[in-house]
């Protein structure tokens, strides 16, 4: 490859990428901008700095209730989705059974189903079993929505652990259970934490499915949705949205760092550059191409 040409093309591409990132972030960053604006309208010119919209967040019992619901549902759903992600991907890789491979394939299926259909199918199911729209129903729905993510993360993590480590444990007489619990789980701990955090985020921010499954106790996105009808409460929604975005950014950033750190820690050293480096960085690959 001629380096001069590559450099020139790279500069134009670099500028394009910068513009793309601006497009990606600018609309979202308007929410924090106008949440500090002293006006009901989200419009220019800015009317001066205020924290009054943040003050309205406190002492709002409906909001507090929704927040607590979202936190509890997120914790339960993330636990369930991470547990399923660990077991499904582990058995897919090491279970040597068609059943395990099938389960793993179905677990990633929700990517190919629009959220509205996931929502109504679960709505029918929970009514059939007599559960009805409730927080338990939301937890089940969010386990499903987060499952493809946790399976993909855990699968790429387990796959990146050199096969010889597991084989050595088995050769030395460790049972399947001991190998799993004492060798494979500790080695994938960063990925487990990362999968849990991302599953929590997915649940915490999820709206499309929860819309069908919520009973009388809304989650935070449902609370926001209910407030969008009232123009007067838009600034409050923006203050709330800013807080949620800030928390999401911190959790997502931590999860990403953990995922990559965990991957590089035990990944085989790149000795042979001719080898394809498929799982080196452990990017999320949704579809086996």
């Amino acid at each position: 490859m001629s380096t001069a040409r590559t450099q020139g093309g790279g500069r134009w591409l670099g500028m394009y990428v910068a513009a793309y990132l601006v497009f990606l972030y600018l609309p979202v960053l308007l929410i924090p901008l106008f949440s500090f604006n002293n006006s009901i309208q989200a419009a220019f010119p800015l009317q001066g700095f205020t924290l009054q919209w943040y003050a309205t967040l406190f002492g709002n019992s409906a909001l507090t209730g929704a927040l607590l619901n979202s936190l509890a549902i997120g914790a339960f759903a993330a636990t369930g989705a991470t547990l399923c992600g660990i077991t499904v991907s582990y058995m897919d890789l090491y279970g040597r059974s068609p059943l395990a491979a099938t389960i793993s394939a179905i677990a990633r299926l929700p990517i190919l189903i629009p959220g509205v259909i996931v929502g109504i199918s679960l709505l029918i199911l929970i009514n059939l079993v007599g559960l009805g729209p409730s927080r338990v129903a939301i937890v089940l729905g969010h386990i499903l929505v987060a499952l493809p993510t946790t399976v993909v993360i855990m699968r790429s993590r387990f796959a990146a652990i050199p096969k010889t480590i597991r084989e050595a444990a088995l050769d030395l007489g460790a049972s399947d259970w001991t190998t799993f619990r004492r060798v494979m789980l500790p080695l994938s701990l960063p990925a487990i934490v990362s999968a849990f955090m991302l599953a929590f985020l997915i649940s915490f921010d999820e709206f499309i499915v929860v819309f069908f499954l919520a009973g009388t106790e809304p989650t935070l996105p449902l609370y926001i949705w209910s407030q969008l009808r009232f123009p007067r409460s838009l600034p409050t929604v923006m203050a709330l949205g800013t807080s949620i975005l800030a928390v999401s950014f911190v959790i997502a950033a931590t999860a990403e760092i953990l995922r990559h750190r965990g991957l590089s820690a035990t990944a085989p050293k790149r000795a042979d550059p001719s080898q394809p480096k498929q799982t080196k960085r452990g990017e999320l690959q949704w579809h086996s191409t």
């Binding site: 490859m1 001629s2 040409r5 590559t6 790279g10 591409l13 990428v17 793309y20 497009f23 990606l24 609309p27 308007l30 929410i31 106008f34 399923c84 077991t87 582990y90 058995m91 059974s97 179905i106 677990a107 299926l109 990517i111 189903i113 629009p114 259909i117 109504i120 199918s121 029918i124 009514n127 059939l128 088995l170 050769d171 049972s175 399947d176 259970w177 991302l198 997915i202 921010d205 709206f207 499309i208 996105p221 926001i224 949705w225 969008l228 949205g241 949620i244 975005l245 950014f249 997502a252 950033a253 990403e256 990559h260 394809p276 498929q278 990017e283 999320l284 690959q285 949704w286 579809h287």
Partner: protein
């Protein structure tokens, strides 16, 4: 040979209990919450609506209505066009970003990957809401245009249009498209591209003949992960689309809400899944046809 013997002995001792315990959570979730729940939708689609949970009597009347009523053709066609435009826009705009990440980013690659994946994990509802405040009559775009003297009075032309839906969805699903394309590009052996240029191919030729065909699986995967959630979306049409951009997801949601005709909503869902199945099959075919791999 010796390793084979050595590993097969402990494998044989593998406790049955461990396997059952490990398979159980996944089996429960996938069989009950995914397959059984989808089966219920299919079952309900062939039932008459009598207000009860599972309907009454078997009928194909729901599907007859879906096929014969022009309203559903219009809305389905609109959903397909909007989803196709969104998919095209996200994939075409994402490709150069993925290309840069794979071949030019160098030391900045980690940071850039992080920046493009971060919006992936933020609230979809908030991303759509952001566009609502951008496009509103007395919103950000209008006021910025007036403030800068480009326009003299606000226009209603932004919000409540199908174009608003396309832009909003393209923005909301933009991060989904980059990663699959990047992974496909990153796994192309560099030696292939070097060989092409050694053999005298100009950069554009080697891009067209080597890089693009080899990245097609990633492009198709990206198209699929954008197309599927977009075609069934009901939140964006409701927030920024207005009545002229009702999508099929809106109709399904209404059947399980205000209209209260669950069997018909189930039939609509089955129709959407069939459309998606067709698209997946076409993508598979295109992958096999054009995705020449080494």
């Amino acid at each position: 040979m010796s390793t084979l013997v050595a590993t097969s002995a402990p494998e044989a001792r593998s406790s049955q209990g461990f396997r059952v315990a490990m398979l159980l959570p996944g089996a429960l979730v996938t069989l009950l919450l995914i397959l059984f729940a989808l089966g219920l939708v299919l079952f309900l689609a062939f039932r008459g609506n009598d207000g009860s949970l599972l309907g009454a009597g078997f009928t194909v009347a729901n599907f007859v209505t879906v096929v014969s009523d022009p309203l559903y053709w219009t809305v389905t066609l609109r959903s397909l066009i909007i989803a196709a435009l969104v998919t095209l826009a996200t994939v075409v705009t994402a490709y150069p970003v993925a290309y840069y990440l794979a071949f030019h980013a160098g030391r900045r690659r980690g940071l850039l990957l992080f920046l493009v994946t971060l919006p992936f994990w933020t609230s979809y509802l908030l991303r759509v809401f952001a566009w609502k405040i951008v496009l509103a009559y007395n919103g950000v775009l209008n006021s910025a245009l007036i403030e800068s003297g480009i326009w003299s009075e606000p226009t209603l032309a932004f919000l409540n249009t199908p174009a608003a839906v396309v832009v909003t969805l393209a923005h909301a699903y933009a991060p989904f498209a980059i990663l699959p394309i990047y992974v496909a590009l990153d796994t192309i052996p560099k030696s292939l591209i070097e060989a092409a240029s050694d053999l005298g191919a100009r950069p554009f030729t080697s891009f067209r003949r080597i890089v693009l065909p080899n990245s097609m699986p990633g492009v198709l995967a990206a198209a699929l992960v954008v197309f599927v959630p977009t075609v069934g979306d009901y939140v964006t049409p409701a927030l920024v689309g207005g009545p002229a951009s009702t999508m099929i997801g809106t109709l399904i949601q209404a059947q399980f809400g205000k209209a209260n005709d669950w069997p018909f909503g189930a039939a609509l869902s089955v129709a959407v899944m069939l459309v998606i199945l067709c698209v997946v099959l076409v993508a598979r075919f295109a992958d096999r046809r054009f995705g020449s791999r080494t």
